[in-house]
């Protein structure tokens, strides 16, 4: 069995990752904006006797990188020398894509073009003479529609075919002077590096030497004579009156335009597209920003209204039947009392509550996935660029921030699309102010306890407060530390696209999975630790005398001025610094241990199962009602006020609406979670920025909550 190493490259957003997903049944991240893939990812597939090993690379406009992700693509092509290059081409924009293809041809590696987005090209009325294109370039070209899996089989055989034939693309002529200079560089390298195979001195590499791409050259370990190369260069620049880079770009574009003129037939009159019509509204001078805000509000409102009944359902099921039967089981096994307490009060109460919020996190993830695939992300960057510039970053920084509403961790990686190190650091530093899914549980329990009427508005305000704080702190840090000008904002705005059902399903689940795994592993572990701290010294008379209680009480005065200086909320905040879900799970444990569990009623498994099913039906009805009334179709009041449940009652005892808000604000802003810290280290090489973030964010959180609470009190709330 032979392995064929295939580099998948192309301009950004042409469907590379979608194509690999279709080819190799992979689950690579996709989205409708340039810069989704930011690191190389692999997926393999068996075809006959061959293993096709695809490497998905970040999109690039050229082999002269402008940002970190583009560098990854270039480095891979030059240093790894794949067996075959699969270039995914946007068929609606052949000319600019062929510019890149022509650069790829310089690498002298068998090349297959996937003419992707072929459906969109057809809709625009484009006709492409594919056989002629293949002949002119010396490559295989296959029309594909990655989202529908069309052209996949042909693509597989084309890859194997060019590999077996070792079909090197045509060597296009770059004009006498340049070709001569290239030959001279080749000769020089052969003399200075006698061990080198001639086939490794391909045109692309020789051009890199002429261009003087220092960063790449230094990595290739070649001996060469820079003085002499400079002489060839000066000659060319003198003859053509242009610097070598402009000359090369002109030349390659000239070739690309020439090919396109022969192979592409476009209709005479350009029709206004759907995208252009939509953008007239969504990017309208006056409506653009209000619509953006309205969409965000709707997003949170829908998430809360639709998911909340299911949150209750999971919660009621865990705390009702599951708790009851677990208890029965443990008694039957004659488990010791401490084990019973650990399993029921520690793990089941603590982890259970985190699981119960999966519906709402899931809905948010679904909506974010929808936004990602729609094409709106690039528009958001366009709308916000001016604002972002006020703190020295550019519109593209806004995309990682929006992604942060799902989870802050992928946002850290997504900053690779930014060109400057300074911009990346500042964006990474501000990302934790974007309220992630892990913070939702806190908001949801508090909103349910105090603000059911205004749920959407409260949630929305918290998210906006996060953004606002990020902007203000950004401006401040920009003036103080991260000084400098933002890099130019150059971004392609892709057409709007309807996400496929598969993409929605797969990518929502990929995001949600992170939370499920986290809850089942180390949130569970943290809960065990909390249980231990809550029960030591062994069997305290009341939880306040436990180690956790004492620590909480010791630090509680810090939070007095913010309105919630009791030991329980302080202890929850402490525990929550590891991961914010832990804030509610700690509260659940503390309050569960305060509460004497009522003697369980009848034991009837069938009845309980029936109850669960029935309850699910009722909650679904409620969710549908909520959705309908959110959409403004009807204002339906849903049924009788529910009987408040354990944790919510406890919260109502310990907090006022004002202190509850203050607490939510604190949770929103303080101490970025540990997984974020790990991502920061992975990207920036050290924990330094994480430690700074811990300090500054917590301080900011304290100040904002203080301000809010004290002003609220003066105003008489």
């Amino acid at each position: 069995m032979r392995e064929i190493k295939i580099a998948v490259v192309g301009n950004p957003n042409t469907g590379k990752s979608t194509l690999i997903n279709a080819l190799a049944k992979a689950r690579l991240q996709v989205g409708n904006w340039p810069g989704v893939t930011v690191e190389k990812k692999e997926a393999t597939l068996k075809v006959g006797d061959y293993t096709l090993a695809f490497v998905d690379l970040p999109g690039a406009y050229s082999l002269s990188p402008f940002s970190l992700e583009e560098k990854i693509a270039r480095d891979y092509l030059f240093t790894e020398r794949p067996d075959v290059i699969l270039c995914v081409v946007d068929s609606t924009n052949l000319e600019r894509n062929l510019y890149f293809v022509i650069q790829l041809m310089e690498l002298e590696i068998p090349l297959v073009l996937a003419l992707n987005l072929f459906d969109e090209a057809q809709k625009l009325g484009y006709q492409i003479d594919i056989p002629l294109l293949e002949r002119l370039l010396g490559v295989k070209a296959i029309p594909t529609i990655a989202t529908r899996g069309e052209g996949i089989e042909e693509l597989k055989s084309a890859i194997v075919e060019v590999y077996l034939q070792n079909k090197i693309p045509n060597r296009l002529s770059y004009g006498e002077d340049l070709e001569e200079a290239i030959d001279r560089v080749r000769l020089q390298l052969l003399t200075l590096n006698p061990q080198l195979e001639a086939s490794l001195l391909y045109k692309g590499l020789l051009i890199k030497l002429l261009e003087g791409d220092q960063e790449l050259i230094s990595r290739l370990n070649l001996k060469f004579n820079p003085e002499e190369i400079k002489k060839y260069l000066q000659h060319i620049e003198k003859v053509h009156g242009e610097d070598i880079e402009s000359y090369l770009t002109d030349l390659r574009y000239g070739l690309a335009t020439g090919v396109v003129r022969q192979v592409l037939h476009k209709p005479e009159i350009r029709k206004i597209t759907f995208t252009e019509r939509v953008d007239r509204v969504l990017l309208n001078r006056y409506l653009g920003i209000p619509i953006f805000l309205l969409m965000m509000w709707l997003l949170f409102k829908v998430a809360f209204d639709v998911a909340n009944p299911y949150v209750d359902f999971v919660d009621e099921t865990i705390n009702g039947p599951i708790m009851k039967w677990a208890n029965v089981g443990l008694e039957f096994l004659e488990a010791p009392e401490w084990l019973n307490s650990l399993l029921l009060h520690g793990i089941l109460a603590g982890v259970g509550i985190v699981f119960s919020f999966l519906p709402v996190i899931g809905v948010i993830m679904l909506l974010i996935t929808f936004l990602e695939s729609s094409g709106y992300m690039a528009r958001a960057a366009f709308l916000m660029d001016r604002l972002m510039r006020s703190f020295g970053v550019q519109g593209k920084s806004f995309i990682p921030m929006l992604l942060g509403f799902g989870c802050n961790v992928p946002s850290v990686y997504a900053t690779r699309v930014l060109e400057q190190e300074r911009e990346r650091k500042l964006t990474i530093f501000l990302v934790p102010f974007m309220s992630c899914g892990a913070r939702l549980p806190v908001y949801v329990v508090f909103v349910s306890a105090f603000f059911v009427e205004a749920s959407g508005t409260i949630l929305f305000s918290l998210y906006v407060l996060g953004i606002g704080t990020a902007i203000l702190l950004g401006i401040f840090l920009h003036k103080l530390i991260y000084r400098g000008k933002s890099s130019p904002f150059i971004m392609e705005l892709p057409p709007y696209r309807l996400p496929t059902f598969r993409d929605l399903r797969v990518h929502t689940w990929m995001k949600l999975r992170h939370f499920v795994i986290k809850a089942g592993t180390w949130i569970l572990a943290i809960n065990v630790v909390i249980w231990v701290l809550l029960n030591l010294p062994w069997k305290p008379n009341n939880p306040e005398e436990s180690y956790l209680g004492k620590t909480g009480a010791l630090l509680a005065p810090i939070f007095k001025p913010l309105g919630f200086g009791d030991w329980a909320s302080t202890a929850s905040l402490l525990a929550g610094s590891l991961a914010k879900e832990v804030v509610v799970s700690t509260m659940a444990q503390i309050y569960a241990s305060e509460e004497e569990r009522a003697q369980e009623e009848t034991l009837n498994l069938i009845e309980d199962l029936k109850g669960i099913v029935f309850n699910f039906g009722a909650k679904t009805k409620e969710a549908v009602y909520n959705l309908i009334s959110t959409m403004g179709i009807a204002t339906l009041q849903v049924e009788e006020p529910e009987e408040a449940k354990g944790l919510i009652v406890k919260l109502q005892e310990h907090f006022t609406p004002l202190s509850a808000l203050s607490f939510m604000i604190f949770v929103l802003l303080y101490w970025p979670c540990f997984v974020y810290g790990i991502a920061v280290r992975a990207e920036l090489g050290s924990f330094k920025l994480y430690l700074q973030a811990i300090l500054i964010h917590t301080l900011v959180a304290w100040l904002v909550s203080l301000l809010f609470y004290q002003v609220g009190r003066i105003l008489g709330f």
Binding site: Y61, S62, S64, F66, T92, N93, E95, R96, Y99, E245, S246, T249, D250, Y253, T275, E276, D279, L283, N284, R285, Y286, G288, I289, F382, L383, D385, R386, L387, R389, G395, P488, F489, I490, M491, E492, L493, P494
Partner: protein, 75 residues
């Protein structure tokens, strides 16, 4: 005349790129080349950046960079 002087809905033909270094190269590589036609689609709500249509695709860039792109107005 500069690209930044064009109003929403106006067309121009690129005459020259008065930009430097990596930025110039990036624009060239994205097809912003002398001889190309551009259409200014819109200006963002906060006054910057602008969205243009060139070579069959939509691109956004800032006024500052648009100032470095010399055009002649097309009717």
């Amino acid at each position: 005349m500069k690209l930044s002087d064009l109003k929403k809905g106006e067309r121009g033909k690129i005459v020259a790129l008065n930009l430097k270094g990596a930025l110039k190269k990036r624009f060239q590589e994205m097809g912003i080349l002398p001889g190309e036609e551009v259409l200014v689609e819109r200006v963002a709500p906060l006054g910057d950046p602008v969205e243009i249509y060139i070579k069959g695709y939509h691109l956004s860039l800032r006024m500052e960079e648009a100032e470095g792109i010399e055009v002649e107005v097309l009717k």
